[in-house]
Symmetry: C2
Subunit: 146 residues, 2 copies
Amino acid sequence: MKEKEALYQVLRMNGLRLTRTRRVFVELFTRNKKPISVLDILDEFRRTRQKVNKTTVYREIERWQTLHIVSEVLFGERVSRYELVLRGHHHHLVCVECEHVEEVEVNERDLHCQEKKMSQEKKFTFLRHSLEFFGLCAQCRAEKCF
Amino acid sequence: MKEKEALYQVLRMNGLRLTRTRRVFVELFTRNKKPISVLDILDEFRRTRQKVNKTTVYREIERWQTLHIVSEVLFGERVSRYELVLRGHHHHLVCVECEHVEEVEVNERDLHCQEKKMSQEKKFTFLRHSLEFFGLCAQCRAEKCF
DNA sequence: TTGACAAATGCAACTAAGTTGCATTAAGAT
DNA sequence: ATCTTAATGCAACTTAGTTGCATTTGTCAA
């Protein structure tokens, strides 16, 4: 697992101690493909019969964000989800029925081109954009037909 | 004001009574250019020295959503904002410094084309997407330079 | 114009997600 | 093994929104 090593290295390089909490975080984030919420993390601790306080989880997530280990993703809910930055820039397909999330590569050439044009017209500096797709995954679509 | 009439008509057509709350809603949504939060609405009532309970506001907003008078917009915060559906499909530039919001038209031909392709590859039915731009408006950019 | 009645509103209590301050515990350097 | 301070736990709080039920108020029919 190259990802795990990479994460442990970033933690070490930033002088962070190797705690039980961090080990669980590394496990969870490397194992999961889709963005993870604080509730997901708390569930994982419960599942493995380890105790943790939600404050600790929130604080650790904050640290991981400031170290750019994870970044926040929002799917139009009121909960924040997080994903590994090292997995690169990408977008998501979110199934509105079952919450299934899939990563997708979108060709952003056209989008960047438009940002450039708008930047000049509006004197607006573009820093980032959010682009997420919502719909029905293959399974839910099939189920919906009957 | 064509917009106001249109709104009052929708309300009437759906058998909704013409209450003080609804009048304020119509005023606010037609006057404002940018998406409005529940807090904005409560502030408007306070400003005009009218009393309203937050429950009423939340319930009215819910009604307006189900009647497709307004739609929810999220800018990666934890608050929901709403805007008039009759103003059509568009995207937003959001200034991360001053919260200023501007509507923008984006040419989505390329995006739709990609959605179509992905739809076939992934057997995913695309229902909608969210696309918002974050950056610095002209003023904030100027201020940031010193 | 006045009742009647459902729609609309108010109120209080609750939930979910996240935050803060401060006391306690435990990594890991010496 | 000890010491320092990062990390954690706990309780209390905040913010955004929700729910159940009692009260008020538009509107329609008489």
